[in-house]
Amino acid sequence: MRFLVVDDSTTMRRIIVNTLNKLGYTEIMEAGNGREGLDKVTEGPVDLVITDWNMPEMNGIEFIRALRAMDGKQHLPVLMVTTNAAKDDIVEALRAGVTNYVVKPFTSDTIKEKIDAVLAH
């Protein structure tokens, strides 16, 4: 199971990587913005993407739209982890192609539940 974590905050990437490690996942790539994320996706197989929304250069929504336009990535599970949790935000994210949504602050149980849900999707 190979993850890609996309977030401009090194702190948040560490938090998510530590959480994934605790859940038994060790194959994790990291990217600092959406553009880097797209590069990582082309480097090798990715089973699940976890992305932030607000990032410089290419934000999470732009990243997901670009990802969905790539060959063979239309059904790649994407989990968005963000503080943007107003109703309109969630609608926009789902329209862009997000599979599921985690609102910060979050617990490791929430991350586990959401990963299980997107993998079962």
Partner: protein
Amino acid sequence: MASPAPVVDRHATQPLIETLRACTHDVFGTMVGTALAEGTPLVGDALRPQSNVVGQIGFGGSSSGLVVFYATFAGARAITCSLLGLDTADEPSKPEVADAIGEITNMIAGSFRTRMATEGDAWAVSIPTVTMGSDFYMTALTDGQRTMLPFRMDDHEIFVELVITTKVRRT
């Protein structure tokens, strides 16, 4: 001709202050893994906390202002160690501390924005900025209301401030 000074209705801003307090508890309880003790809120800008690391995020929309997070170096290091899963004996770098305080500020302000959206307050928020140093003073270029919420995290005092400007009352 000078613009009229904004008039802030204390009763109107009280729900915002309570919401910000709840968001701060939520972020620390969930992400930092520690409960915060509360102090008495301070209104106005007469009393400034002794802080070395300050994160701030602006918001604008139906009302505008700032959410500001204050910590000492020691407090900011403790928060960083908790967030990153480091041992308390570890010494995080200054960029790690700055990024961690930026993320804490982002989560508090982001939760605050989301909760207020359910009350009909639609805001856009800025990216966080973090200032680190030993002798500086943060001031907002507004005549709005400033409310400082003091908290204690173990041996560390931290503060979360809401600076808010409501609509100008025209006479």
